[in-house]
Symmetry: D3
Subunit: 191 residues, 6 copies
């Protein structure tokens, strides 16, 4: 029995939104299985990366189940960042089931996979200016409604884990307004 | 809707064998979902760790499907090794969907999870002396039959990807017999 | 004999100033011992982190001795940054003597310790807008008087090691004004 | 006021024993202050490195207080291992208050400090064959009396934190006797 | 036979330009051999660091050959970034043939080498405002002529490897204009 | 002008010996240029890796000059070890000028390059049992004559830098004979 035909889609999914799901459904119409590369897996508790890899995995399964896609159609593979761009593609390949095609609109991701000999296809985004993880995090911080941009069970899950409160906490600061100012507390950065 | 009750099982799965599957079935009889922590995810192409994380993920899905368990019942989470034992458990927790109980027989794994406040249960192994990844790798290298120790589709998959040849290659050496001898070629080690 | 009751305070102490000392005295009025977590211990020779961990340790002891606090009342624990936020608290715990309470105003530090189950208390700062390491570094670079913001022996120590000259050197550049411009020399960054 | 004259002593202190204390007293008879470099600070929960840096710091203070030496006479500086031998000395120097002389019997430590231009003196050990951290760990595992080899408050502290049980747990294994055998559980190794 | 007298010059060489070559010729008029420290060797495929270490090595040899300098007069040593500034100089020393003097205008590089006891000399730049790697990358992105700023064989080499296209690709983005916005694709960052 | 035809040879060169040189001459008879991948570049001051990358670079140039091969025929590229085997080849490729063929007898090196699509050829060794870096280090430690196994200027260079004394120092120990015993001094290991 041959391996199924698989395509990969790379994202950070901070958080998963309806644009992601739409793209995944499109890819699954073309391929047997989808490999979801959950990038920057080691990051969490940052303004741009509030959710852990585990939380993002749950969101992805909830989102796809909500669209009728069972986990036998896809793989979720958390992959930590690479120490240098030139080894990122082989690192992804080592972490993932084999795939044939990559879907991405991100220029660096596209170029690295193309230089590695992969076919890379664009993702036809649906209402990109609103279905955007950045826009969702902005709305969460601004207290504006964001729930409509994500599948309903993802919204419920984020609320249940206190995701908005976490983001607000990360944005809160008691510091004087001069930028870069750091006082008593160290920010634990990556090495 | 509450989160499903989940238990975790930690392993390197080099390769997946029938003992693993038996343990997973036992755990799934007790819990809604199983979180399979695929440890040392970054390792491959070593005598003790021949297979990549991606290959081990495929083996796990093949093995469980062969026993009638669909992926909606479990999560496979590749986790790289930690830089210090004291941060390994929180690193696992950040990578995985939340779980309540850990199944493990490995003393260090047990102690680290117990110190972190988890309930840790032993795995009742089935014919441990033969259903063993070490035994399987030994048989592969010795040219002895190993296929019966793993689920049939796992054996097929390993053969299709040339896994035995890879292991034999890793064991082969043209070097004189004095131990530690290294000649022209550097072994690419972990940093 | 039971372990002493300890509280922790996290900081980078670039450099130690009177606001730090005031907060430490307040904490020591409540606890037997203070654990001073010297964060970002690996950093030095940067505009925001000019001093080495060793230099900061000396400053802390000088500052507390100047207020009549001997080292039997506190621990100074240099802790390097963590590779991911989710392991920073367990890493701090492994490096430090056990403590019960954390004092911090920094939102991320507060949240990470709270998620780890710690009681976190705010630090009532004294004249925060001037007793600030950022303000001190700014004054050092601007050639304005900064000595009054730090305990006298800390000022002497910084002068003796040529700290201001080091900071000025780090800020100096012969480069044309276009930002991000880098010429012949590589900046040695963290990995 | 000039900086005090300081000498450094490097060790892992797994655990602290009477031989360490004897050497420290000898050094303190010659120097104003002692810098105790607590090496391999990041390691714990290993057979050769059972105790965390924080636990070893407490042991050191207990041991020296038991000999009448207050912490104003010494510094304890936890230092993680370096990625390459050639940067270990400068890393130690960055973490520590300045010192003039190094006491060490370990050949690599001696050579690296000598190549860096330091005066390195040998440590005159007292009954080396029994005052040895390796011997103490061996006795702990064998159930033989070990308490007499460490200062009394260190023995009490180790017992209170369950140190012997931890060591025994780390040595315990349910695995079949073939060496290198690894089953279900991954050992969480350093990166 | 004594070792040749060597001077070092540190740079990232993204890309090599005529100002670099001029400085190298000046140094080679004073010393037997030049050690070219190729910094940030691990970086590539970034807007500020588009070229790999291997590509930069080729550029350097082409550029110097074009000025009549053969490789017996110099060493090219790719050195990855260090995890902390305080170990960068010893790391460079371990990677390189021994040298006596360092040529650099970059303040941090200068200070770190001076603190390590080296003689550091300034580089008399030739028309610095145009012979600048940043200016060259800017022109490449803007579609302006850049070829005159680099030695002719370097320009040919960059064109042959598609360097301008790579840079343009790295700068391209389909993202909406709000800064920091990240969509489906993760940028593979350094660890 | 097309790029020269290049072949790569991977080694640690601890130290360079006549077998290495013989192999290099053979390769240079077939190719325009040789890329010498100096592996484990970050290691030094270990029994198996006594020499720094810089020292090994000097040895290589001395050895090849002694055989009449100038540096315009080869590249020496120090490459640090990779964090995982699966990214080692792409890391080597990023550090090196492009090459077409790899010469290696080491099974892992061979397999990794073959899996990456390279042609890998064996190295016909000359008197392998004696022209061996391990044998040379063994003789150095045993006080037996080793100079005949390396090119004459390499022997002179090793003597001038005190290489034998370094190796002897690294092997010396004052420790009791029980293996694994570690006392006061920490061995500075890789992270």
């Amino acid at each position: 029995m041959p391996e199924p035909r698989r395509a990969a889609m790379v994202g950070r999914f901070q958080p998963v939104h309806k644009g992601h799901v739409k793209a995944m459904l499109d890819i699954l119409a073309e391929f047997d299985e989808l490999v979801i590369v959950l990038g920057s897996a080691q990051l969490s508790h940052e303004l741009d990366n509030p959710f852990t890899a585990g939380e993002r995995m749950v969101m992805l399964r909830l989102a796809l189940a909500h669209s009728g896609v069972g986990p036998e159609r896809y793989w979720i593979v958390p992959v930590p960042d690479a120490p240098m761009h030139s080894v990122w593609v082989p690192m992804v390949l080592a972490y993932c089931p084999r795939f044939e095609v990559v879907y991405s609109n991100e220029p660096l991701t596209r170029r690295l996979f193309i230089e590695a000999g992969f076919e890379v296809r664009p993702i036809p985004f649906y209402k990109r200016e609103i279905y955007s993880a950045t826009e969702i995090r902005r709305r969460m911080l601004a207290g504006e409604p964001w729930e409509g941009l994500v599948p309903a069970p993802v919204a419920d899950y984020i609320k249940a884990l206190g995701g908005v409160e976490r983001l607000v906490d990360l944005a809160k600061t008691d510091k004087p307004k001069r930028p870069g100012q750091d006082e008593v507390s160290s920010a634990p950065h990556t090495w």
